[in-house]
Symmetry: C2
Subunit: 337 residues, 2 copies
DNA sequence: CAACCGGATGCAAACGATTGCAATCGATCG
DNA sequence: CGATCGATTGCAATCGTTTGCATCCGGTTG
């Protein structure tokens, strides 16, 4: 049963007693063919279980119906949801998604891009970790490129408005009386980490808040491992690169009897589902990730239609306040671990 | 810059002063061509930035270098990690992955399968939610199909050994003195939920444990929403369909001052990363998800090489005991919420 | 009645790559 | 010195589909 012979156009033509051109036109809904013939051909095709060979089709038509996408990490819900939105939009437009995961590695991402471009008519780079030089190379490829969460010239750009995001976070914290805040950073290759730092610094200055920064990463264990350093710092509130890091940090703090938020407030970016189920539930910045994917598709279709790139789309986030942030207090004691 | 003209084989041939056949052979490493010509052609191709048109290549070769995969939900880390393993293995074999998400919907999955098969030379159905009839249809398609976490005839099968899994869980709980256990189920369309139930019942019987079952789902909120029902039950331990549900349930229990594990033990399947960061950390069954993907690829290559399907691959899980399970106690009180 | 017309259909040429086979060349051998 | 041989290279067919153009047909018109 499995691995049967493929039915081709010519088989349908023979069975229907017509030529391949007629069959092709009938199936593709050309108005050059008489209705009876169309009906007959359709019937025969259905009977024989004909399915067009998409490879031959795409080859002949020359225009690939596939969009290549890269993400740093498939297991991060942020990226999965962007993909969800993008996939839905692309599918509605008759396109398919070829997904590649770079594993947070710029070199691997470049390899991936070169591979994907051979199969796709367009490229979407989600939170690209490429170096500047790598990005140049990608943009020189003979297909349109959209970047999600990375601004770049001569490409489509869809990003979260980190300026607004950082302002929301810091205003929330200063409103609670915090004057000293620690940022636990993300991967050095991440453009959005850079943006978070830049906008946090700038906003901190304007709000007269002292901002400290340490290195972190993108996953739960990065947050957990940052625990001791966080505890030693003199900040009364912590902002983490994303919720995974935030949840990891919370876990360490609870393991070490630090009362959140009484002793230390924690807040983060992204608001992925587990943020709500963390202990204590994590204050975070909600963003419409699926919409990022949708907008990327919109930019792409505009470009594929021959227009110039529209301007960058910026998505404003929304602060979801939960129990992990509270009024600033004097730190109970300086501990060492 | 963007959207430049494609360089074709004939352009390289012209520039190099040879024929297309020579160029093709030179680039593909045929030993029929003299080394100097190979070097020259390679140089010219590089200079011109030639990249083979994969559509033409695949078309001509007839064998698609793409594998279609369906998953119910991209945001579930379980599936992402299976994809990771599969993608890595496929890539190493020179294949690409076309990924489709069904959104836990059997009808959508069927549409997806029919779409993917047109673009792929093989199909991997990950935790397929297809109905029996739908699955029959998929298996009748002219490509080999591998099912992950679903057993079926005339297809490759890779699955987690739920019999062993359920035994590990229940033995752990009975070892702690639990005699009445509640299972919070998953989606009705899930084969693996059925397996979990079946093996739990069977093992419960042999261990003389009373097993109750309620309906649940696949996501955190399903666990959270099950909270009241769980609390009303007379069980001293709960097993949830997966960690997302488990974490959601834990969150509800903590919100409602139920002491875990003193009053109620909670354990689960899958051991995704957040299980370790939950409060309390969740006892769960670790499985090698990436390996599931790898094995699926192995089955596929065997089949593509013309062999029969090898037998099913079963992966034994391992119990990771954390703080969410503890000795059974008399329930403090029956509460109503 | 011949010329014409337009709708319906078939013929054949593409698309870009691979590959069996024939052609070419210089060198070797009898 | 001509035949032969092996190593290279080019010619041309091919994959399945789409599509411009020619063809064919019956019916209408002058």
């Amino acid at each position: 049963m499995s691995v049967a012979e493929r039915v081709r156009l010519i088989d349908v033509a023979r069975e229907a007693g017509t030529s391949v051109s007629t069959v092709s036109r009938a199936l593709n809904g050309s108005d050059l063919i008489s209705p009876e013939v169309v009906a007959h051909v359709r019937a025969v095709a259905g009977e024989l279980g004909y399915r067009a060979d998409r490879r031959a089709q795409e080859f002949k038509l020359g225009r690939p119906l596939t969009v290549g996408v890269t993400v740093p990490d498939l297991t991060n819900p942020f990226f999965s949801e962007v993909l969800k939105g993008l996939a839905a939009a692309a599918r509605a437009g008759g396109y398919r998604l070829l997904i590649g995961e770079s594993g947070e590695d710029p070199a691997e991402e470049l390899r991936l891009v070169e591979e994907l471009v051979d199969h796709s008519g367009a490229l979407v780079l989600c939170s690209s970790r490429l170096t500047r030089a790598g990005l140049e190379k990608a943009l020189a490829l003979p297909v349109p490129v959209v970047c999600i969460n990375r601004t770049v010239k001569n490409a489509g750009v869809v990003a979260i408005d980190y300026r607004a995001a950082s302002r929301l976070l810091l205003e929330h914290l200063t409103g609670l009386g915090h004057r000293r805040v620690l940022y636990v950073g993300g991967p050095a290759t991440s453009w959005s980490d850079g943006e978070r730092r830049r906008t946090l610094r700038r906003t901190a200055r304007s709000l007269d808040v002292t901002l400290d920064e340490i290195e972190g990463g993108w996953a739960g264990h990065h947050g957990y491992d940052a625990g001791p350093t966080v505890l030693r710092s003199r900040a009364t509130a912590v902002i983490t690169f994303n919720d995974l890091v935030g949840v990891g940090l919370l876990s360490w703090l609870l393991d070490n009897d630090v009362d959140v938020p009484a002793e230390l407030s924690v807040a983060s970016y992204d608001d992925i589902p587990i943020a709500a189920y963390a202990r204590p539930p994590l204050t975070s910045l909600r963003n419409e990730r699926a919409k990022l994917g949708e907008l990327a598709w919109r930019q792409l279709t505009a470009r594929l239609a021959g227009d110039d790139w529209p301007g960058p789309d910026l998505l404003a986030p929304e602060l979801v306040v939960r129990a992990s942030t509270g009024p600033a207090r004097r730190r109970a004691r300086i501990r060492t671990t």
